[in-house]
């Protein structure tokens, strides 16, 4: 079997907020094989970005820290190394080289005062020791690879001269420059129009298949997960509540939160029947709890239609429901 590129065990990440320590991510296990796309999905504040920042070593200093766990990463050297406790300098060597990232807002990664071509060339000069001319030529090729028309001219332009969709393509080109083993994409299409989102998802899937990279794809959109991912981890209040292959989890969800979430997504052409019948749209009652005030036991209990007294005793373990499918629900056999 292929050894995983990323293997997170028992991760716990905490933040210091107003003299208190809040746990943003807890008990998190996640592994990604070469060529595999794993989606982390959940509503806002569920801990998706904190998980990806923990892997990249980009937690806000002094405020956020990894409190527990290991993050084994197998980069270009082929040997697995624990990213937890690695020096900031060692992490900097890996970022943009062995692992790369794409964010929701392309201007997070792009510098407005350098040309697009210079920015794509830079990681190749730093990490791969390419000459200026070599890197510049490779940058133009990368722009072509991500589907930007007239790449030589675009390479000479500044980010503000590109549309939002093209800027996101350019950040993808920059992320791919050093042929990373792992691409972390945090809501890379959330700020884009839906027809442009379709283009970018298509592009990411194609590039990933060509290069055999592992991809951690963070999104709040279940439709996007169905489209791009092989496996999915659903997060709620800092914990993975359900995980498995996309087919398994979407066709046979074994956690009440996943079920509720799937039912809440509007399906094209299906609301008319509900409207005619005078039936409201399916929802999940209540709202996500605040981390400062998590309920005891299962964090979903106050909103869960299946909740019983036993649910509030302890945080349910992630139970193996078979075939690599897991559910953090004590009543999963009945769900």
């Amino acid at each position: 079997m292929n050894a995983p590129v990323l293997d997170i065990r028992d991760l716990r990440t905490v933040f210091r907020v107003g003299g208190r320590e809040l746990t943003a991510v807890a008990d998190l296990d996640l592994s990604i094989a070469p060529g595999e796309t794993v989606a982390l999905v959940g509503e806002s504040g569920s801990g998706k970005s904190v998980t990806s920042l923990s892997v990249m070593g980009l937690l806000p200093r002094k405020v956020g820290r990894i409190d527990n766990g290991t993050i084994a990463f197998r980069g270009k050297s082929g040997a697995a190394r624990d990213l937890v406790g690695m020096t900031p300098e060692a992490l900097r060597q890996l970022r943009g080289n062995d692992m790369a990232m794409v964010f929701q807002e392309p201007m997070t990664s792009l510098n407005p005062v350098y040309t697009v071509g210079e920015q794509i060339a830079e990681p190749m000069r730093i990490h791969l020791g390419r000459s200026r001319a070599q890197a510049a030529a490779a940058a133009v090729q990368l722009l072509a690879d991500v589907g930007i028309p007239d790449p030589a001219r675009r390479a000479r332009q500044f980010p503000h001269e590109l549309s939002g969709g093209m800027r996101q393509r350019a950040t993808i080109a920059m992320a791919l420059a050093c042929d990373p083993k792992l691409l972390i994409a945090d809501e890379p299409t959330t700020a884009l129009d839906v027809t442009i989102q379709a283009q970018i998802l298509d592009l990411l899937a194609k590039l990933q298949a060509e290069r055999g990279m592992a991809m951690l794809f963070v999104t709040h959109n279940l439709g996007v997960v169905a489209e791009i991912a092989d496996r999915v981890a659903v997060m709620y209040a800092g914990r993975i509540v359900e995980t498995g292959t996309v087919d398994e989890v979407f066709d046979h969800p074994r956690h009440p939160y996943t079920q509720g979430l799937l039912r809440s997504v509007p399906r094209l052409g299906q609301a008319t029947a509900l409207k005619r019948a005078g039936t409201p749209l399916p929802t999940i009652a209540g709202a996500v709890p605040s981390l400062a005030n998590l309920p005891r036991g299962c964090a979903f209990a106050p909103r869960c239609p299946y909740a019983i007294d036993a649910c509030t005793v302890a945080v349910p373990p992630l139970a193996d429901t078979g075939g690599g499918h897991g559910s953090r629900c004590i009543r999963w056999p009945e769900i």
Binding site: G165, V194, I196, G223, A226, E227, S264, T272
Partner: protein, 330 residues
């Protein structure tokens, strides 16, 4: 036979910039848009960013002045109205914003926020205003103690309820809701859509519901208008638009929406290219640079909105040829 529409928008056009000393090119935000909204009905305005949705919504309430065209509310031409007369009309028309965070003052209690609008309108005594504000809170299903709390104490969905309560307290007849659920999580979006639908039917409100997401508007809208680069591409009863989309852009938009069904992606149609700039829109059909069916003739004339079915119109010169074309993958 038919009653006059409650809201009637005719040949609405709005251009930004391009005059005076500014050298920035004219932005053609809205071009020649006409539609009616019967009393008590909901019309959806849907399109990608920059398609002119907000500009139409703001022009309807005359929060901005259109370049040309008219907006009639209950037979009264708002576009010709003096500022003073307009103020009197304003109570009848309320705007609900996308961002519940930015639109609520952090220093006022929810009660003060709700009563503020009523005070500006000079409605009744303080006691009356408080009663109406409390009734509005109840209508949006917030607890009574919310009256004395501050906006920051509420979640995104609750803040959107407050925004809706603020609009309702004024007992408007027309509501323009501009992406009221776009900033919310999916499980909360459906709660707010249900609430708006319930209030709308109970109170007989007339509503313009703006969204960039075709999937969100189906439940609440009676009629849906699809916009692209400031122009109407298609207009149809909601059920009809999803069952039988006719314009190539509507079909592409429906096909682009990712649905939580594994395996569907392979059947999707992907448009090439970017959305053109509204300061330099293509000649003829504005969609032609991305349309898979474009022919030379598409660059020649702006396609008129033609009837393609009952209350169903589409602005494409190839409407009839493409009738049988592969519709949206299921």
């Amino acid at each position: 036979m038919t009653e006059q529409p409650f809201l009637s928008v005719s040949n609405l056009t709005k251009h930004f910039g391009g005059s005076g000393f500014s050298r920035a090119p004219v932005v053609r935000a809205v071009e020649d848009v006409s539609f009616d909204v019967p009393r008590g009905k909901v019309v959806g305005l849907v399109g990608e960013s920059g398609s002119g949705k907000t500009t139409i919504g703001r022009s309807v309430l005359r929060l901005i002045d259109p370049t040309s065209g008219t907006v009639r509310l209950d037979g009264v031409d708002l576009t010709a109205m003096s500022a003073r007369d307009l103020r009197r009309q304003r109570a009848k028309m309320q705007y609900i914003f996308q961002d519940p965070f930015a639109s609520l003052s952090p220093r006022m209690t929810i009660g003060q926020i709700l009563m503020e609008g009523l005070g500006i309108q000079g409605t009744g005594t303080r006691r009356d205003r408080e009663d109406r504000a409390r009734a509005a809170l109840k209508a949006v299903e917030l607890p009574a103690d919310a009256f004395d709390r501050y906006a920051h104490e509420f979640s995104g969905g609750q803040r959107q309820r407050i925004g809706i309560a603020r609009a309702l307290a004024l007992e408007p007849q027309l509501i323009v809701a501009d992406e009221p659920v776009s900033a919310l999580d999916v499980s909360i979006q459906a709660q707010i859509v249900n609430l708006l639908r319930d209030l709308q039917t109970r109170l007989g409100l007339t509503m313009l519901f703006i969204s960039h997401d075709l999937a969100v508007v189906e439940y609440i809208c009676d009629t849906v208008i699809v916009l692209y680069l400031g122009r109407i591409m298609e207009i149809a009863p909601a059920a009809e638009l999803y069952a039988n989309p006719r314009h190539p852009y509507t079909r592409a938009l429906l096909s682009a929406i990712p649905e939580p069904v594994p395996g569907r992606a392979s059947r999707r149609q992907i448009l090439t290219g970017d959305i053109p700039s509204p300061s330099n829109p293509p000649s003829g059909c504005v969609f032609r640079t991305r349309c898979p069916h474009a022919i030379d003739a598409c660059a020649q004339v702006v396609p008129p909105l033609e009837a393609v079915g009952r209350d169903h119109r589409s602005a494409c010169i190839r409407n009839h040829e493409l009738e049988t074309a592969e519709a949206v993958p299921a």
